[in-house]
């Protein structure tokens, strides 16, 4: 593959700007360093282009691969230069350079929620369990679909009754219920204490991953708020779809179909 075919100079500039902008939005790179960092990674990409091209196996799109390469280059720059940068509030990303990573309040929350969703998804098969148990832990209104995602036989396993938060139970009883659910569904023999330790570890991992490469420093309280937003937003999406379906059903009923 010739140099000209792999990626054009314009595309390289565009991709590098998008990668750098993301780190600026996360406040990992100060805005004043934007041009320097971008030029550095573009030059490094050009110098190593032959090797980069030969390492491309065609298992993803070229653009995605370039993003991964440029992102890793940016991380190296941050590791080297972070001690020299003195990040302050003045380095906050101006709105005009947003390119999707803007600093309007709703957009920031949406970005964080999107990030949280990805972090949870990367627990793979454990993702439904992580989502469900954290929601239960924070006493949120649970969706039956989330219980179903964790255990398709939830009705036979009585999970609706086990996870009934209308009952007035304390944290100890909550973890007892978790242990009962895990033992029924996953055929394990664990105690409530083990579930408590596992859940605390999971929340810790989530907070750490959200905080990596970001100036946002979540603690347990702010993480709880973010998770509630995240869980509620998912419910709203489903409600929106339900509303449209309900409206269509009413129209069809009026028509006598």
């Amino acid at each position: 593959m010739t140099k000209a075919q792999f990626i054009s100079p314009e595309q390289l500039m565009q991709y590098s700007e998008m990668v750098v902008n993301r780190f600026i939005a996360k406040r990992s790179i100060p805005f004043r360093e934007k041009e320097d960092v971008q030029m550095y990674i573009v030059e490094k990409f050009i110098l190593k282009q032959q090797k980069i091209e030969s390492s491309f196996l065609g298992k993803s799109k070229v653009s995605t691969y370039c993003f991964a390469v440029l992102n890793r280059m940016c991380l190296e720059v941050i590791r080297k230069e972070i001690k020299h940068w003195n990040l302050s509030d003045e380095d906050k990303h101006p709105d005009s350079i947003a390119m999707g990573f803007n600093s309007e309040e709703n957009a920031v929350v949406n970005d964080e929620i999107r990030n949280l969703d990805k972090v949870i998804q990367l627990f793979f098969e454990e993702a439904p369990k992580v989502k469900l148990f954290i929601a239960l832990y924070y006493r949120l209104d649970i969706k039956e679909s989330d219980i179903n995602n964790y255990d398709s036989n939830y009705k036979e396993d009585n999970l609706l009754e086990v996870f009934d938060l209308n009952k007035d139970i304390n944290k100890a009883e909550l973890f007892d219920a978790f242990a009962y659910a895990i033992n029924s569904v996953e055929q394990k023999r664990i105690k409530a204490d083990a579930v408590r330790m596992w859940l605390n570890k999971i929340i810790g991992i989530l907070i750490k991953r959200l905080n990596t490469g970001s100036r946002a420093q979540y603690d347990k309280d702010s993480f709880q708020i973010l998770f509630e937003y995240y869980y509620l937003k998912e419910s709203d999406k489903q409600m929106g779809l339900k509303k449209v379906m309900t409206l269509l059903m009413v129209i069809l009923w009026i028509l006598g179909i």
């Binding site: 998008m18 990668v19 993301r22 980069i52 390492s55 491309f56 196996l57 298992k59 993803s60 799109k61 653009s63 995605t64 691969y65 993003f67 991964a68 390469v69 992102n71 890793r72 991380l75 390119m99 999707g100 990573f101 970005d111 999107r114 990030n115 990805k118 972090v119 998804q121 990367l122 627990f123 793979f124 098969e125 454990e126 991992i205 750490k208 991953r209 990596t212 490469g213 449209v244 409206l247 269509l248 129209i251 009026i254 028509l255």
Partner: protein, 261 residues
Amino acid sequence: MDIRHLTEQEIATYAEYLNEGTLDKISSEEKEHIKNCDACNNEIIAVADILEQMHKSVVEESITNNIGLNISKKKSVINYTLIGIAASIILAAVIIMLLSEKEASIKPRIADQQAIEQDIYTPVIDSNSTEEVVVDVTEKEELEITIPDVIEEEELLAYICNDDLEQLSARYNTALRGDIEITTDSIVEIAAGTPYMLQWNTSEAGEEFIIEIYDNKAQLIIEESVHNSYEIRSELKEGLYYWKLINSDFDLLFCGKIIIR
């Protein structure tokens, strides 16, 4: 032992899987590493995030270019579209209902046409006769139907009864009011172009009357002063007509029907 982190190619591939929701394509070994390695985990998320933003920018740009709307109004466009679709369905339903009602209102008029045909073959009752008139249904069935099988819509409309005039003619079926005796049948059928005399007897010779002829749309076609008869003109077109006999005091004495074929 050195931990083998993911290559850039692997990061790119798994980032696409994450956005597509096809993480099950990743092997269990790699999954285990990703779950436990913060660095690889974050790189995958970063690349997936950038991809998502890039697609979002492309979609928003194409919407702005094609529709020329402000990017920030994209969501309200979708909402208004859904409302528009719902409103279109309701409007279509209303139109269908209205069309069905109109069709239903034409059908009884066609049924009336069939009633006219029955009238033709019903014997006229002589009010002076004491004989009991028996309507023979079987005789009717043997009668040859003269109405053509295929009737043009326009011709059919000319024979449709007028409700008000029908009620009036039914009320004056006895053909006797005061000193006037109508000797013509209450329903007369004549061939087009053939003259026909409407006649009545009056006690006073030379008494003046007014005759009015209406078409089936209740439009007055002919109004004339007469004495004791009136000849239907041959130039009347095929169709159903009604005639009224009015005295000099403007009393309605009689209302009959004329069918011209």
